[in-house]
Symmetry: C2
Subunit: 435 residues, 2 copies
């Protein structure tokens, strides 16, 4: 029987999940492909032996043993980070190996170099697992929505951040406390920066924008704000405005420019994205033909990510078996049609806003602040001021109609300079579906 021979670099959580999947699904994969997927080699510098079920798989500490094995078709890179992952992938490609990776950080920064090398060497790079874990995001965008101009991408793409916000919403617990608990339970990394500051989400958005629009979007193109500044009081006020706070990746396609932003967002409760809870992810594409399509599932974890990596291995394997390598272009568009993005400056953004101003409870405060909003043509939809406790400053909360980010920045600058404002004003953008 024909074989699809695989080498894995990095035998951590996802690597061992993939090995387990290939073992458990072996017969099923043969029944679907007519071939056997063989895990030929595993390279990892930290482990001494492989699980018992991996009979016949060779363990090595040297990734070169994989690159130099002429029998291996597909190299799966699962060590993460930039180096040596980048060098390993480029070396695999130069040796004529196909590559599968879940490394969103690498692809969103060095993707252009990697995909160009793959084209030059006539090999494939599969990266389904880089966005949304086991959710079929990349294949759906590239193949199922092929006959669509993608108008917008909106999604919850980081399970840790969504878990924290969900806990804060359900229990009113402060951010730091939920984070600490999540770290103890293993739901959050020891260094949670990538997850809670929106960096991981931005990596993923860059990848999706590239294939959605046929533009070389990279991580640096994306404006990123995290959730560490969100307080339970903001979640409570959001509830009063009929919203939940979610960390969203948002991109809208304006034709000659595209939005690229990751930030906490107030999402109306009747929107699907408001109802994605816990560690789940959901990514919504808006296509001019199909309308809104939303894909939901576990965006991380050993087995879900293993499912996506295995699907890429089989996908490339089918192309090897049928002699149709690069049957679908890696980035959806053929390389010669991929252009440079013009990113919408944040100052040009227009949306409704939520502000929480913290001020001393004095006469004239509300009128002064309202006056500043009026000066910048920021129209207020509603205001909430809750009774103060003792001599503490009060929170005055505003929900605006559509306003421009440029005006908002200026207004907040003036407001925060007022003598009675005791803390920086919190600004959260409100999601509106532009149709």
């Amino acid at each position: 029987m024909k074989e699809i021979r695989v080498g894995i670099i990095g035998f951590g959580t996802v690597g061992s999940g993939l090995a387990q999947t290939l073992y458990e699904q072996k017969e099923r994969l043969t029944q679907k492909t007519g071939a056997v997927v063989v895990l030929a080699r595993v390279a990892d510098i930290n482990i001494k032996c492989l699980p018992n079920h991996l009979q016949g798989t060779v363990l090595t500490a040297d990734a070169n043993d994989i690159f130099n094995d002429p029998s291996i078709h597909i190299v799966v890179e699962l060590i993460g980070g930039i180096e040596p992952a980048r060098s390993f992938i480029l070396k695999a490609i130069s040796k004529g190996k196909h590559v599968v990776t879940a490394n969103k950080a690498l692809l969103s920064i060095h993707g252009r170099e990697i995909f160009a090398a793959a084209v030059a060497n006539g090999v494939e790079v599969g990266f389904e697992a880089s966005v949304g874990g086991g959710i079929p995001v990349i294949k759906s965008l590239k193949e199922s929505l092929v006959a669509n101009r993608i108008e917008a991408i909106q999604g919850i793409m980081n399970g840790t951040a969504n878990y924290i916000l969900t806990q804060m919403t359900d229990h009113g617990t402060p951010f730091a406390e939920v984070l600490k608990d999540a770290q103890q339970k293993g739901f959050a990394e020891a260094d949670p920066t990538y997850d809670v500051e929106g960096i991981d989400t931005a990596h993923k958005l860059a990848i999706l924008m590239t294939i959605a629009y046929g533009l070389h979007v990279k991580f640096d193109d994306i404006t990123v704000e995290g959730i560490s500044g969100i307080r339970p009081i903001d979640i409570d006020f959001a509830r009063e405005f009929g919203c939940r706070i979610k960390l969203l990746a948002i991109s809208r396609n304006h034709g000659d420019h595209v939005e690229a932003r990751v930030h906490p967002t107030m999402v109306p409760v009747d929107h699907m994205l408001a109802n994605i809870n816990g560690a789940f992810n959901a990514i919504q594409f808006t296509g001019d033909t199909v309308g809104d399509v939303l894909l939901y599932g576990l965006g991380a974890g050993m087995m879900p990510t293993g499912s996506a990596v295995a699907a890429d291995v089989v996908d490339i394997g089918r192309n090897i078996l049928s002699g149709s390598i690069n049957r679908v272009p890696a980035l959806s568009y053929l390389p010669e049609y991929i252009g440079e993005p013009t990113i919408t400056p944040m100052s040009r953004l227009t949306c409704p806003y939520y502000f929480r101003v913290t001020a001393l409870d004095q006469p004239g405060v509300l009128s002064t602040i309202s006056g500043i909003f009026g000066k910048y043509s920021i129209s207020i939809q509603s205001v909430i001021q809750k009774g103060r406790q003792d001599d503490e400053p009060v929170h005055i909360v505003f929900r605006t109609h559509l306003a421009s980010e440029e005006a908002v920045e200026k207004a907040i600058g003036e407001i925060d300079a007022l003598p009675f404002c005791t803390d920086t004003t919190i600004k959260i953008r409100v999601l509106v579906d532009e149709k």
Copy 2:
């Protein structure tokens, strides 16, 4: 430039949507495939001319003109129904044409014959549009979840039924009134039987089960109940139990037997499927590797369905261009591995139930009914009896713990024979996620 040449049979809503999509997305498709998708011919007996933008497309009243055109690679069947659709598809296949169809009724009844003919003739049959309209259901199941044993399929697969239930839920309007309104607005067919009686949903479930499990499941295998018996009072009681009523397709894979059922279901409000409203569809797959994945979008309509048909055309087109026909088996598993299903008898089903008993308001009614449930080991979780109006019979509503359908049928038979029960007892199954 290379061409993928297409003929459409049936130029109704979806046919013209496809033609419009191929026209509007022409340049984009070339940028993604390196080829041109050409709509060579359209066959329809009811139209006199084609839209202006279809320059160069030949209109005919005779489908044979498409079968006999040696330049045409792919025949798209969009007339629906069993005949002549079946004969047309078999003829196209016998002429060596690839086929794309959205015809779920046909595939769920004659799929076996059609797919066998396709295998014998070495052609492909694409049917993404047959389930979930523009939502990438089929491709995700066949390719993205390839390394999964599918444990369960649960979904809202008919937009008309879901629209009606949503209207009933939001406005308390009776079924007949909402249906009439939906018909006037064009959201429901003049003959709504297929949609509201669950038949269309069952057609789709048969197709999904076949590719999910590698079993030849057909429409007749599925137990079907519709929503025409649902009353606003049931929706109100569901709300009191923290649920919404949805028409679900449900299949669970027990290994040696598989559940296959379509019926109104009480879905807890915190379940994603409870929050799918209006004409939207959502299909959830549970895989042993990936966990739960849910796909959401518009399950019908000119353009969403056109998006799915166009994706199939491109998918087959890529295989033509790269010489990899049947790169992915049409039914996910290779034909030799597809077996016969053993369907779980409904009597063996176990789930929580909702009952609405209608009875005269007499002493001893509740104890008699409760006694019958007890006799059949049906354990009651909660009971609601609302105050009667004048001399009308009262509704007594029960929500049970897990109970067997066999016991439930016997108990209801006895209850409905009681002299003080004035109407047939309504039974609605309650969704529980078995983990």
